[in-house]
Symmetry: C2
Subunit: 240 residues, 2 copies
């Protein structure tokens, strides 16, 4: 029986899970919200990272007791893009991220990336990782490494972002695996909440700054430090 | 009996506890360590914040598997000061921080600040808070607010930094309260560890980015979101 059970598939979050860019996003959102006069403690912004941009702004604006027009929300998003571009120079993959994706590819375990960002925002992170989005065309080269081509689902391809499950459900469909055979790997409680709602198994990584307890309470079946740590323990999540 | 029991005293950490500057410190350390070729994931740096600078560098360098000479450590500290100065413009007190200190002053509850930083590094944060270190001379004005004068113990005044208890013990001595009647308020597990070792009660704040569980596990008797939240619940920690 066991030998006919399929390998699991992996659906990865991008920011903070494969690429080390959460803290840069945090300070970029802080700066962007200040641009509309919204002052929030930085840790409160950190706890919303991983939500899709629109939801994140709504949640933080509500927390501040203010209201923003659609134009002001767009302004905040533009300021965030600018600040993030400035703060994220020299952004790197997390330790083991590239090796993990290569290993899964080599052992024929299907995987995809599902990110809360729009494709334009995700591209610098994908470039840093050396991943080209299948069918998305014109990306930068991966430097000395060959690029891995992968299924990448971005915010623009689904109706609702995280913590709604749409991104992970779309990613599973695209790589043709049943969602209940998929393992969602993410660094934020929003990934794990979305995983639960999608009916997938959730695995947490501490590389976005959340503690182990918090990720477990949000439904993580296992928590690892970063992609390198997950790669060393793939047997624990059913990869033979 | 109860009416003769003294009020508690408060020993506050500064960065992340009274002032919203942890994430700026995190990215400044990242940039500084890169200056000596040390590449570490940002979340690992975040988890060391609150340790005194020298200990933080030692711990992170050890984690990276590298070794640094004394000159290289000094270079990292200089790069951190420069990057922090750039990233921390517009630094603000945490919500309720100033009001909390004013309230304690008004109701004659003794308090002091004990920070892992050296006085020069701490001064911008104290200025943002509107606090002048007693006897330290020449600080900037607090803008429109009158400055509060307070006992401030900095790294240069004790032999060992956090998580050793020296800073909090020295602060209690300076304001003439027994350490076991003192409440240490901090945002990091290093504050809470130092509080335990000093024999003081520890109270955690989430404003530095640690989750509630983690602060409780490190020994926090109570955990609040930020100084404003602590101010609303002072009765829970024995202030009448």
């Amino acid at each position: 029986m066991a030998s006919t059970r399929p390998q699991p598939a992996f659906l990865f979050d991008l920011d903070g899970t494969l690429v080390d860019n959460v803290y840069q996003h945090v300070l970029a959102w802080r700066e962007a919200l200040e641009g509309e006069g919204i002052q929030l403690s930085v840790w409160r912004i950190h706890r919303r990272i991983g939500m899709s941009g629109g939801l994140l702004i709504n949640a933080l604006v509500r927390e501040s007791g203010r209201q923003l027009s659609d134009e002001q929300v767009e302004h905040v998003q533009r300021l965030h893009r600018e600040a993030y571009g400035r703060l994220s120079s020299g952004m790197r993959p997390l330790p083991g991220a590239r090796e993990l994706l290569e290993h899964l590819t080599n052992v024929h375990v299907p995987w995809a990336i599902a990110t809360s960002g729009h494709l334009d925002n995700a591209r610098p992170a994908l470039d840093a990782l050396g991943v080209a989005a299948a069918g998305a065309g014109g990306s930068a080269s991966g430097g000395t490494r060959p690029m891995l081509t992968a299924t990448v689902i971005t915010r623009d391809q689904v109706e609702r972002g995280k913590p709604d499950p749409d991104l992970f459900i779309a990613a599973a469909e695209r790589i043709n695996v049943p969602i209940d055979a998929a393992i969602v790997v993410g660094d934020s409680v929003w990934d794990l909440l979305a995983a639960r709602r999608a009916g997938a198994l959730g695995v947490g990584l501490m590389s976005g700054g959340y503690g182990q307890d918090e990720l477990e309470r949000a439904g993580a079946y296992r928590v690892y430090q970063d992609p390198a740590d997950l790669l060393r323990h793939l047997d624990e999540v059913g990869v033979r």
